[in-house]
Amino acid sequence: MDRLKILGKTTGSRRAFTIVFALLAVFSLLAASCGNDDGVDIGDRGTAMGDGSLGIVEVEEGDAIQIRSLEAITGDVAFFGLPIDRSTQIAVADYGQIHGFDVDTGTSLDDLCSNDGGQAAAQIIVADEDVVGVIGTSCSGAAVAAAPLITNAGMVLISGGNTSPALTSDLAGNAGPNYSVGYYRTAHNDLYQGAAMAKFVFSELGISEAAAIHDGDPYTQGLAQAFADAFEREGGTVTGFSAVNKDDTDMVPVLTEIASGSPGALFFPIFQPAGDFIADQAPGVSGLENTVLLAADGLLNTNYLGLPQTAGMYFSGPDQRFGENVNQSTGMSAVDFLGEYETRYGESPAAPFWAHGYDATVLLLDAIKAASWVESGTLKIDRQGIRDYLNGVRGFQGLIGTINCDNFGDCGSSKITVVENIGGEENAETSISNVVFSYEP
């Protein structure tokens, strides 16, 4: 009898256990089916954007939101990347906290304006899972390597300086060969810049034969090709299309190759120091004595404009007549920004794209704000939400003007200007605003 009681009690307990286990399993399945695909608890997110599909970054109370700056801050093209890096720092300071959390840019990283540099820096960035977005790179060549790594890690990369069409699209709905989902830029697409310079040479200068030189970098090659294509569309003839190595000093051979076509204009959208040597040696090459020399935004800086051999040259670049433009999120105007920049760094920005860097940073911070919420004192940021916000940017008022992002991350303005170098070190800053031609498609 006792034995039966014991058995009966034991059997009842097992049944109760089985029922409780089954209920738990059912609740678990229900909870799982209601949650996101990754099984991440996205909690009470309110109106925060995103579906959690790229993961949620959690920032504990007292910690800072991590973003990074990846620009060319050393070497020959530091003049180009430093102003963008500094613009990022100013933008972060202007923007202030997001939902009560500070934003930390960490130590600025260097893209070295090269594929290898971009790759090395990107590997450092993606090793830190707390980073949500990156401002950079300065050079398109660096972005070709950095963008896939950074975007595959769920982060976004927003550039203020890349202009190569390969990184976004051909502006006709076809993705460029190096396009990565999660890549955006506030700089223009070089298809606009190439078209602007081609129109200027053909229509304004009345030159019907032109040549182009690049250095193999995606930026320089893309822009030289864009110029050549647009020039032929205008009705001109491209008499030569050649390339140099970035570390070449003796340019006589390549200039002789170009001279054999007797071009009226030579467009070389490259960087220093190779650009110094071309401008210096071209007039001494037989057949190029009277050829008009043209360059692009990679050489549009006070250092280059101050060189004696660059007097009279023409440079294409983004329209920098920002006037009274105001960034809608921070209230900073272009004029105030330049004052702030000079106060902080004791000089004016040496190269264009400082405003693009500022707007890129503010866009990223706005995106983080839109895709994050606070839960139990912890800030949660939805990585997909950041992309959703950026994909939907339309009519955003920035320092560079109105910003609209297309389906391939091109958010920049299409306004391009051509300036003429007055000549002389003392006139370098004046030359940057000596606009002789404006273009907008």
């Binding site: 070497g75 020959d76 190595n245 003796d250 051979p253 002789t256 057949g287 250092n303």
Partner: protein, 372 residues
């Protein structure tokens, strides 16, 4: 290389056949390219001229002359740097890879000194005097750099396997590059503007003043160096140490002092080349010495390592080949992007010379221990 050469009458191996094929291929490519170029120059509609490159336009006489002068100028600077490589190899039997950086130190010294002179107004008012002054300063600084390098980095390793000072020289090279970045920053530095007679072409031979200056100074330096090495007591000591350091020591020659003189002399030539570089290109950066250094080393090998005249001849060969080769040989053959291949052409000259004449154009002069 000499020892590996096939003995007369010995059976041909697979390697011999391979080398023969490579020699024939090299000569064929050069020959075809040259013939196509000549055909272009005669008439661009010539079917042979358009055989590989239908868009070929050929070069005018002035353009071809410009390429030759550009190559000679560049080659003269390679030659001056190559002298340092060749002398050190002749005496110590190792390649001082940091020598290219000594050249960079010379160019940087010239940049600093010339800008100081420009600030004081002397560069414009007395250009020739200023030029001589910066050359003297650069020679002194580079000689001192080379001597310190020998004393600190190489002398303690004397007698150790040759690979060890070779690796050390690579380390010294990086040290000098990075020291330049720390002291002067990473950006390119400009020389002050030069007078019109240096910048512009002269009716005499249609050459820029800077290029005439480079050619004349390089020729004068070569003559002075040759006289020093062949006719002075110190030069005789250098040759004796290069011949056999131990026997030279037994004859009463101070080997250490002689080696220091070799480094100082090599440094002086590099310093001079650095100034000429600055006057010609008016821009210098911490990596300025790397590629010219490698090409100068190739020039020393092409000329026959250890041979002073050979170093200069090798420099001129490489300079002219990299300037002329892409447009005269490769473009007529329809190769695209020829201007980016100039470095490849320079090193192809090295490979070609080693294939056809393994001891270099003038033959190697090796230390005693290498000959045994």
């Amino acid at each position: 290389m000499i020892r590996r050469a096939r003995r007369r009458g010995a059976p041909r191996t697979g390697v011999d056949w391979f080398l023969t094929i490579m020699r024939v291929a090299a000569v064929t490519v050069i020959g075809l390219g040259l013939l196509a170029f000549i055909a272009q120059e005669i008439n661009t509609d010539n079917p042979f001229a358009q055989w590989a490159n239908p868009d070929a336009t050929g070069l005018t006489g002035a353009q071809f002359w410009g390429l030759i002068i550009s190559g000679v100028t560049q080659g003269a600077m390679y030659g001056l740097i190559a002298l340092g490589y060749s002398m050190v190899y002749g005496v110590l039997g190792f390649i001082n890879f940091a020598h290219g950086e000594v050249f960079m130190v010379g160019a940087m010294t010239g940049m600093i000194t010339s800008n100081k002179l420009a600030d004081a107004g002397l560069w414009e008012s007395n250009f020739v005097g200023s030029l001589v002054f910066i050359m003297v300063v650069s020679i002194l600084v580079c000689s001192l750099t080379a001597v310190i390098m020998e004393r600190v980095a190489y002398r303690p390793l004397r007698g150790s396997p040759r690979l060890i000072p070779l690796i050390t020289s690579i380390g010294v090279s990086f040290f000098l590059q990075n020291a330049s970045v720390v002291l002067l920053g990473p950006a390119a530095k400009a020389y002050p503007d030069v007078p019109d007679w240096i910048r512009n072409k002269h009716t005499f031979l249609d050459i820029e003043g800077a290029k005439i200056l480079v050619i004349l100074v390089a020729a004068a330096s070569m003559i002075c160096l040759y006289y020093f090495v062949e006719r002075t007591k110190s030069g005789k000591a250098m040759r004796a140490v290069a011949e056999d350091a131990e026997i030279a020591a037994l004859m009463g020659i101070n080997v250490n002092r002689t080696i220091v003189k070799v480094f100082a002399l090599g440094g002086a030539m590099a310093g001079l080349a650095g100034i000429l570089w600055g006057i010609l290109f008016r821009s210098v950066i911490h990596t300025t010495g790397f590629l010219p250094g490698i090409k100068a080393f190739s020039a020393a090998v092409v000329g026959g390592i250890g041979h002073l005249g050979g170093a200069m001849a090798g420099g001129l060969s490489i300079g002219v080949a990299e300037s002329v080769g892409p447009l005269v040989i490769l473009e007529p053959l329809g190769v695209s992007g020829v201007s980016q291949l100039r470095d490849a052409v320079a090193f192809a000259v090295l490979i070609g010379v080693l294939l056809l004449r393994p001891a270099g154009l003038f033959g190697e002069r090796l230390p005693a221990e290498d000959r045994t």
